[in-house]
């Protein structure tokens, strides 16, 4: 296998962006521009499907590994995928084309710049998920800030500047400590190659501090309570496509980082800090669910629900149980699909009515029935109804949690009820009830592209809800091996 498929996955969107950059210009071009961007990201999606098909799920070794000398005697450019990362790459390449289709309705000006930002973002995010070197990882992880900052700042809503700054500075502040940790690891072990670090382990004396440094970065990005406050702001102000990218993919980088680095590199520290994670996760689940209940802005409500969902994810990861971690990954994938869809749903009504406030709406079920059906499906998926992918993730996480810590699991399970409450209440207030606002009568139902996007998201949501095997098969071996390694290192104190 000589074809450097991962590098191509990373490069292709950037090449597309470069192409767009040189064909920038007048309004007449908009059509071409969109198709170029769509074509690039679609090719990338099929490439990643091919990657998934030729992926060998029976081993936990990294596959499609490419290694090139980047800085002599220091850093190698190394990429590769295993069962844990491949699904995130798929998620990224799946969501991006949908985002690009969705700009039809929401982005009115500077279209080509927007698409350039989205494509570059895609490059960076794929890079995050397949880099096998800490420095390369950090590079991609941080670089994603630039396009996202611009997406929020240029195309965002009224308080976009504040939100963009908050997003950027929060994340940067979290990440610089990770940089210190990465350099420290280099001086301790003489390498930043993840595979070598897995094998050699990291000196137990330093693990706690290093873990905390990584944690500071991932906690902000996840986001965990109490550093989650940037997320509602960023979500509310970002344009629809930006919110989708943010919720569906950006938040997953931290969950992925927890599994790959916190568990993989610092088992002893992870064991020590598990109670901390449990506490913060449970607070996130309960507390932000209650906050979500009180929101009047739809986007904000979904943003807070994201925080709660990510609380389940972190909880599941640190159960260090097969089910828990599997559940976390499936929950992340499912949240990627469902929250993307929910933001798009909000985007649909926002494009028509230019209001995100819940009390603007009500009784739209008879006016736009197709929309109401799909919105219902995603609402149910978000609250984890059996038969949707949301259920599989939450169920596995709670199973893992019951094995590890009964009390935490009980409290987290209560969160499911509140989750159902705020989602259903949201749906009830928006879709059902009496039609008070007569302006709503002018709303038209989903157009073709919106219908297409939402159906694209609905299919995997339902499919993996009934039949999660393809996902579980892909991640199973990698996770069991990760847990074995973890326990082995813990036992032998390295």
């Amino acid at each position: 296998m000589n074809f450097p498929i991962l590098s191509w996955l990373i490069l292709l969107p950037s090449i597309g962006a470069l192409f767009l950059f040189f064909t920038r210009g007048n309004k007449k071009n908009n059509f071409t521009i969109k198709y170029v961007a769509l074509f690039t990201s679609a090719v990338n999606f099929f490439l990643s499907i091919y990657l998934w098909i030729s992926f060998d799920a029976s081993t936990s070794n990294f596959q499609f590994v490419e290694e090139r000398i980047w800085i002599e005697d220091f850093i190698n450019y190394k990429v590769g995928v295993d069962g844990i990362s491949i699904l995130f790459i798929l998620l990224t390449t799946f969501i991006t084309p949908l985002c690009i289709i969705s700009v039809n309705n929401s982005i009115k000006e500077r279209l080509s710049e927007f698409l350039i930002a989205v494509l570059i973002m895609e490059s960076f995010m794929i890079g995050v998920f397949c880099s096998l070197d800490l420095v390369i990882f950090y590079l991609f992880f941080e670089a994603g800030l630039i396009p996202m900052f611009l997406i929020i700042g240029i195309w965002g809503g009224a308080r976009r500047v504040y939100s963009a700054f908050k997003f950027f500075l929060y994340t940067l502040l979290g990440s610089v400590l990770m940089l210190v940790a990465i350099i420290t690891i280099y001086w301790l072990n003489g390498t930043t190659d993840v595979v070598e670090l897995y094998n050699s382990g990291i000196d137990i004396k330093y693990q706690n501090l290093l873990w905390l440094a990584f944690f500071s970065s991932f906690a902000v990005k996840t986001p965990m309570w109490p550093v989650h406050t940037w997320l509602p702001d960023a979500h509310v102000e970002a344009p629809t496509a930006g919110s989708v990218l943010l919720a569906a993919i950006l938040l997953k980088m931290a969950g992925y980082g927890f599994i790959r680095f916190s568990l993989g590199l610092f088992p002893a520290a992870s064991e020590i800090f598990t109670p901390l994670i449990y506490t913060l996760s449970v607070i996130a689940i309960i507390f932000t669910s209650f906050i979500a209940l009180m929101q009047e802005d739809m986007k904000k409500l979904i943003a807070y629900s994201s925080v709660a969902h990510m609380g389940y994810v972190t909880l599941g990861i640190f159960t260090i149980q097969q089910q828990g971690i599997e559940g976390s990954i499936i929950q992340m994938i499912s949240h990627g699909l469902v929250s993307a869809a929910l933001f798009l749903c909000v985007g649909v009504v926002y494009d028509r009515m230019h209001s995100r406030l819940i009390n603007t709406y009500g009784g739209i079920v008879s006016i736009i029935p197709k929309y109401s059906i799909l919105f219902m499906l995603f609402t149910l998926a978000a609250l984890g109804l059996p038969g949707t992918s949301g259920f599989v993730g939450e169920f596995l996480i709670l199973m893992g949690a019951f094995k590890d810590n009964f009390l935490v699991a009980v409290i987290a399970s209560l969160g499911v009820i509140i989750g159902a409450a705020y989602m259903l209440w949201l749906y009830k207030r928006v879709v059902f009830g009496k039609l008070v606002n007569t302006d709503l009568k002018q709303m038209f139902d989903l157009n073709r592209s919106e219908l297409f996007i939402l159906s694209c998201l609905a299919v995997p949501t339902l499919f993996f809800g009934f039949y999660p095997d393809p996902l579980i098969n892909t991640i199973e071996v990698s996770i069991s091996d990760l847990i074995d390694q973890y326990n082995f290192k813990l036992a032998s104190q390295i």
Binding site: W70, A143, G153, L172, V176, L179, W187
Partner: protein
């Protein structure tokens, strides 16, 4: 004197300066010609430096008062190229203010000569001589737009404060001479163990003088005023070229004679570094004038370069040199943008003048975007690597406090760079600026932006260039 060819660059440069001065005086209206000749002189000097000295082993000349080694050759080449670029992009600006005179290139050449002497110096006297030569030229350059009151003020301020710092520096030199009996770096090194505390005083005074020259906190007060008042092209020169030379002297002075006193000066350097990084970042937030903002940002950047020097290792020195090189590149790009903010023969230097630049001048805006993110140190741009190397060297020495403060101040600094980006991209547009900027200005902007952007593809090259620097 068989080794005279090693100082050929300096000899050639000084002869050229004298020739150009006479030539310019006798030939009327020759400013354009002198400018071109000066550019040629800079190129030739750089070529001579490259050919004659870069391959040679460490050699000392004139009773060991001058040292030619890889470090000095490299820094001279960087200085010369930076001066070349400054000169080439400043002509439009000077013409607008009708100060396109023969003195300008000649003064720049003289100050470059002074810097080359500084870089070569292995002796306090030679070092001081070079320093004064470059400073005198710089005083005049600061006042070059003499009809503007701000420019004159800048020059006077710079002169007074600089003279004070030179005095302190000289006092430090005399202390060191008094306690070691020599001004030669090598002799000082061999005499060291006699009376350490008194020597520390000497070092402190000299460090104060040097810190003043590179505008490190708390000796930075002159920088914002002088940068604001001086003609923009001169400000560009100030922010880049003297810092290269002063940094070299910093390295040479601390690592050759006083390496054994590292415990004494390391603390001072760490303080200078932390103070500069923090102060530069915080003070820049409130600025409304772009040149003042650049002044504070350059104070901050000097802090990072000093962090590398403070680490006390070859890695640290190399990282500082990488830092200053990348910084020069970024500043060049930034100032090219500043020099493009021109409308109806007037230059605009308020931050608000950047408002909505992205709508009217998309290419200029995107270049600024890249440069500003790079200055903020966001990967994958060159500025990130500069910081990365420095902190790598610093953390190697377990100086975690310095590293963490430094990285936190990058977050603060990111705020004001983001503010500029916000103004450029998120705010309402204003009137258009002129678009005919001349080839060289566009060239330097494009080249520096592209280099910053694609640096991550070949980060190894620069490391390889500096990896031959071996002081300790």
């Amino acid at each position: 004197m068989e080794n005279l060819q090693l100082v050929l660059p300096e000899i050639f440069l000084s002869l050229s300066i004298m020739f150009l001065l006479i030539f310019g005086v006798f030939k009327k209206n020759s400013s354009r010609l002198v400018q071109s000749l000066s550019l040629a002189v800079l190129i030739v000097t750089a070529v001579i430096t490259f050919n004659e000295t870069i391959g040679t082993n460490e050699t000392k000349l004139f009773n060991n008062s001058i040292i030619i080694d890889y470090l000095s050759s490299l820094m001279k080449i960087i200085t010369l190229s930076a001066a070349f670029l400054v000169l080439i992009i400043s002509s439009n600006y000077l013409k607008t203010f009708k100060i396109f005179k023969i003195e300008y290139p000649i003064l720049i050449l003289s100050s470059v000569l002074g810097m080359m002497v500084m870089i070569n110096s292995n002796d306090l006297i030679v070092f001081y001589m070079g320093l004064e030569l470059q400073s005198l030229a710089l005083y005049v350059l600061a006042t070059f737009n003499r009809d503007q009151i701000k420019s004159s003020e800048a020059g006077l301020k710079y002169f007074v404060l600089s003279a004070l710092s030179s005095g302190l520096l000289l006092y430090g030199c005399s202390l060191i001479y008094g306690f070691t009996g020599s001004t030669n770096f090598d002799v000082i090194a061999s005499q060291l163990n006699s009376d350490v505390y008194a020597l520390t005083f000497g070092i402190v005074f000299i460090l104060v003088g040097l810190a003043f020259k590179i505008s490190a906190v708390p000796f930075h007060m002159w920088a914002p005023d002088v940068y604001e008042g001086s003609p923009t092209s001169v400000t560009l020169f100030f922010t880049m070229v003297p810092k290269i030379a002063a940094l070299t002297v910093f390295i040479r002075f601390l690592y050759v004679p006083f390496i054994n006193l590292i415990d004494q000066w390391q603390t001072i350097l760490i303080f200078l570094s932390i103070a500069s990084m923090l102060f530069g970042a915080i003070a820049a937030i409130g600025q409304t004038n772009l040149k003042r903002l650049v002044a504070y940002s350059s104070i901050g950047h000097v802090g990072y370069a000093l962090a590398g020097v403070a680490s006390g290792t070859n890695d640290g020195i190399q990282s500082s040199i990488i830092y200053i090189t990348i910084y020069v590149l970024m500043n060049l790009g930034l100032f090219s943008c500043l020099l493009m903010l021109k409308r109806d023969n007037q230059y605009y230097e308020k931050i608000d003048d950047l408002s909505g630049l992205s709508k009217n001048h998309p290419m200029l805006a995107i270049s600024l975007l890249i440069i500003l993110f790079s200055l903020a140190g966001i990967p994958p741009l060159a500025g990130f690597f500069a910081k990365f190397y420095v902190f790598k060297a610093v953390i190697e020495q377990s100086m975690y406090f310095l590293a963490i403060v430094g990285l936190l101040s990058t977050v603060v600094a990111a705020f004001y760079y983001l503010r500029l980006i916000k103004i450029i991209y998120f705010d309402k547009e204003k009137e258009k600026y002129d678009t005919d900027h001349g080839f060289w200005l566009k060239f330097s902007l494009t080249a520096s932006t592209l280099l910053i952007l694609i640096y991550f593809i070949f980060p190894g090259q620069l490391i390889e260039v500096v990896s031959r620097i071996n002081i300790i």
